[in-house]
C-alpha cells in the first residue's frame, strides 16, 4: 500500500501549532512586528556552502530563499524597526535527522541592540519553549580549549589536519582551514554543548564572520550560535552595516566558490543599494523552529515534528 500517513504523531503537530502561537505572542508582547517577505526572489546568497533551488517563472530565474535575511534587512534600511519572520525556507541538498531541505525558520532583528542583548532575548525565547533555565556562555576559543585542548585562533592548518584525522579517521584531501575547524566543532564539541541547558558560543574567528561585524581586535567576529542538548539552534550577528565591506565579503565568497569549482552567484544589488542607503545599527538571529520544537518535545528526529518529512 502506498504510504500516506504523516511522519509526525498528531499530538506533536498540535504541539507545533501551540508553539507557533506562543512564539507570535512572545514577539507581539515585545512589540516586534511580524513580516512576511517573499520565498521567491530573483537573487540568492553567495555563501560558498549554501545552495538555493532555482525556479523558472515569468521568463526569469528566481531562487527559493535560503533565509529571509536580505529582504528583512532591506525593510530595516527602509526604517521599519524591530521585525521578525516565522516561515518556510529552502536549502538544497540537506537531509538528515536534524535537516530537511524545506524547514521553518524564525528570524528576527533588534534595532540599536548588540549581539549580547540579543542573546539574552534568544535565551528568554528558548526558555519559554523548552522550560530550560540554565545558561552557559563560551567563546569559540574557550570551546576548543576545553574539548580539544588547542587554540583555534593560533593553530596552523597542518596541525589542524593532523588533529582532525586523529579524531575522525580518513578525511577528504582538499579541506580548507575553516573546514577542519567547523568539522571538529560539529563532531567533537557541539554534541556536548547545552546539556540540560542553553549554551551560547560567541566570537567566531574572523574568517567565519559571515554577515557579522568584526570585534575591535579584528581576530574574531560578533557572531554567536546557540545550542541545546547538543543541537545547534540559532546563529546570530551584530550586523555588518557597511556596504563596501559587505560587497568585499560577497566577492570573497565568489572567489571561494571558484576555487571550489562551484558556480558564482550574482551579487544581490538591491540588498547592497539598501545597505548604501543605510542599515541601522542592529543585531539579528535565525533560529530553527523545527529544532526548537524537537527540543520542546524531546524528539531526536526532525521527521517527528513536521507533517510530511521528505
Amino acid at each position: 500500500m502506498t504510504p500516506w500517513q504523516p511522519t509526525a504523531p498528531l499530538s506533536n503537530l498540535r504541539h507545533r501549532a501551540q508553539l507557533l502561537r506562543e512564539v507570535r505572542a512572545f514577539f507581539h508582547e515585545r512589540q516586534v512586528l511580524e513580516v512576511d517577505t517573499p520565498l521567491l526572489m530573483p537573487n540568492s546568497v553567495t555563501d560558498p556552502y549554501m545552495t538555493a533551488l532555482e525556479v523558472h517563472n515569468l521568463g526569469q530565474t528566481y531562487y527559493l530563499q535560503t533565509s529571509p535575511e536580505y529582504a528583512m534587512k532591506r525593510l530595516l534600511c527602509a526604517g521599519i524597526g524591530d521585525i521578525y519572520q516565522l516561515g518556510k525556507n529552502v536549502r538544497a541538498e540537506e537531509r538528515g535527522a536534524k535537516h530537511q531541505s524545506e524547514f521553518t525558520l524564525l528570524e528576527w532583528y533588534r534595532v540599536g541592540w548588540d549581539h549580547h542583548q540579543l542573546m539574552d532575548e534568544v535565551f528568554a525565547l528558548v526558555s519559554m519553549a523548552t522550560g530550560l533555565s540554565k545558561r552557559e556562555n563560551y567563546t569559540y576559543q574557550q570551546c576548543f580549549e576545553q574539548y580539544l585542548a588547542f587554540d583555534p585562533l593560533a593553530i596552523t592548518t597542518p596541525q589542524l589536519a593532523a588533529i582532525a584525522s586523529e579524531k575522525l579517521g580518513q578525511l577528504p584531501a582538499d579541506l580548507r582551514h575553516d573546514d577542519y575547524l567547523s568539522l571538529l566543532f560539529a563532531t567533537c564539541i557541539e554534541p556536548f554543548l547545552g546539556q540540560g541547558g542553553v549554551a551560547f558560543v560567541s566570537d567566531f574567528p574572523a574568517s567565519q564572520a559571515s554577515l557579522a561585524r568584526l570585534n575591535p581586535e579584528h581576530q574574531t567576529a560578533a557572531r554567536f550560535e546557540c545550542y541545546c542538548s547538543g543541537l545547534e539552534l540559532a546563529n546570530g550577528f551584530w550586523e555588518l552595516t557597511e556596504a563596501t565591506l559587505q560587497q568585499q565579503r560577497f566577492e570573497a565568497d565568489n572567489l571561494t566558490r571558484q576555487t571550489l569549482g562551484k558556480p558564482t552567484i550574482a551579487i544581490d544589488e538591491p540588498f547592497l543599494a539598501a545597505l548604501e542607503h543605510g542599515l541601522p545599527m542592529c543585531s539579528g538571529v535565525a533560529l530553527g523552529f523545527d529544532r526548537l520544537l524537537m527540543l520542546s518535545l524531546g524528539e531526536s528526529d526532525i521527521a517527528r515534528v513536521v507533517p510530511f518529512a521528505q
Binding site: 555563501d47 556552502y49 549554501m50 541538498e93 540537506e94 537531509r95 538528515g96 535527522a97 536534524k98 535537516h99 575522525l168 579517521g169 580518513q170 578525511l171 577528504p172 579541506l175 580548507r176 575553516d178 573546514d179 575547524l181 567547523s182 568539522l183 566543532f185 560539529a186 563532531t187 557541539e190 567566531f204 567565519q208 559571515s210 550560535e225 545547534e232 546563529n235
Partner: protein
C-alpha cells in the same frame, strides 16, 4: 557500476573504497553552522570485516560496488571449493576457503545459504541462523542423567564442536544457532 552522491547514502549501501567493496553501516549528515557540509559514515570492508569511520564532503560521489546477496543451495565441497547452486537458474558458483571462512562447519548439503558476491565472485557465505546437525562423538556420560547438570563438548557431523547438555548422546540430532555457535535444543524428527 553506478556512482552515488553522499546524498544517496543509506545504511546497507555497498560502495567501493581503496579498491575494496564496503557496506555503509552508519551514516550521518553533518552541517556545521555556515560551513562545508559533510557525510560521516561508518564503513565495513566486506573482504576483511574491519570497520572504519570516513568523512566525505557532502555532494561528493563514490563508486558503487557490484555486491549482491543471493540465496543459494549448498551442494558439496571438493576440499578446495564449496559449491552452491541457484535453485531458480541452477547456475552454480564455487566459494573458496577465504569466502567461506569459519562458516564451513555449519554447511549442510541442500541447506539454503546467503552468498554474497562481488563482481560475480563469492566473497562471503552466511549459513541459516539455525542448522540441524548430528552428534558423531561425545562423552557417553551417566545413563539416566536428564537433569541440567552441566555441559560437555560434542563433535558434530560437519566437524563443528559445540557444548551440549550431559543427556545428549552420540547419534542424536541437535539444533545449533550458527550466529553464536551454541546448542539450541534437540531436533524433532
Amino acid at each position: 557500476m553506478a556512482s552515488y552522491s553522499t546524498n544517496e547514502f543509506r545504511n546497507g549501501l555497498k560502495i567501493m573504497q581503496d579498491g575494496e567493496p564496503c557496506v555503509i553501516v552508519e551514516n550521518e549528515f553533518v552541517r556545521p553552522g555556515k560551513g562545508q557540509a559533510f557525510a560521516r559514515a561508518k564503513l565495513r570492508y566486506l573482504l576483511t570485516g574491519r570497520v572504519v569511520e570516513r568523512t566525505f564532503k557532502s555532494g561528493d560521489s563514490v563508486e558503487g560496488a557490484d555486491v549482491m546477496d543471493q540465496d543459494m543451495e549448498y551442494l558439496y565441497t571438493d576440499g578446495e571449493f564449496w559449491h552452491f547452486m541457484d535453485p531458480a537458474s541452477f547456475e552454480q558458483v564455487a566459494a573458496d576457503a577465504k569466502a567461506v571462512g569459519d562458516n564451513a562447519k555449519w554447511l549442510v548439503e541442500q541447506n539454503s545459504c546467503q552468498i554474497t558476491t562481488w563482481n560475480g565472485n563469492p566473497i562471503a557465505v552466511t549459513p541459516p541462523n539455525m542448522v540441524v546437525l548430528e552428534v558423531t562423538d561425545t562423552d557417553p556420560g551417566l545413563k539416566g542423567d536428564t537433569s541440567s547438570g552441566g555441559n560437555k563438548p560434542a563433535t558434530l557431523n560437519t566437524g563443528a564442536v559445540v557444548n551440549v547438555p550431559l543427556f545428549v548422546q552420540i547419534g542424536e540430532k541437535i539444533k545449533v544457532d550458527t550466529r553464536s555457535g551454541e546448542y539450541a535444543g534437540r531436533a524433532k524428527e
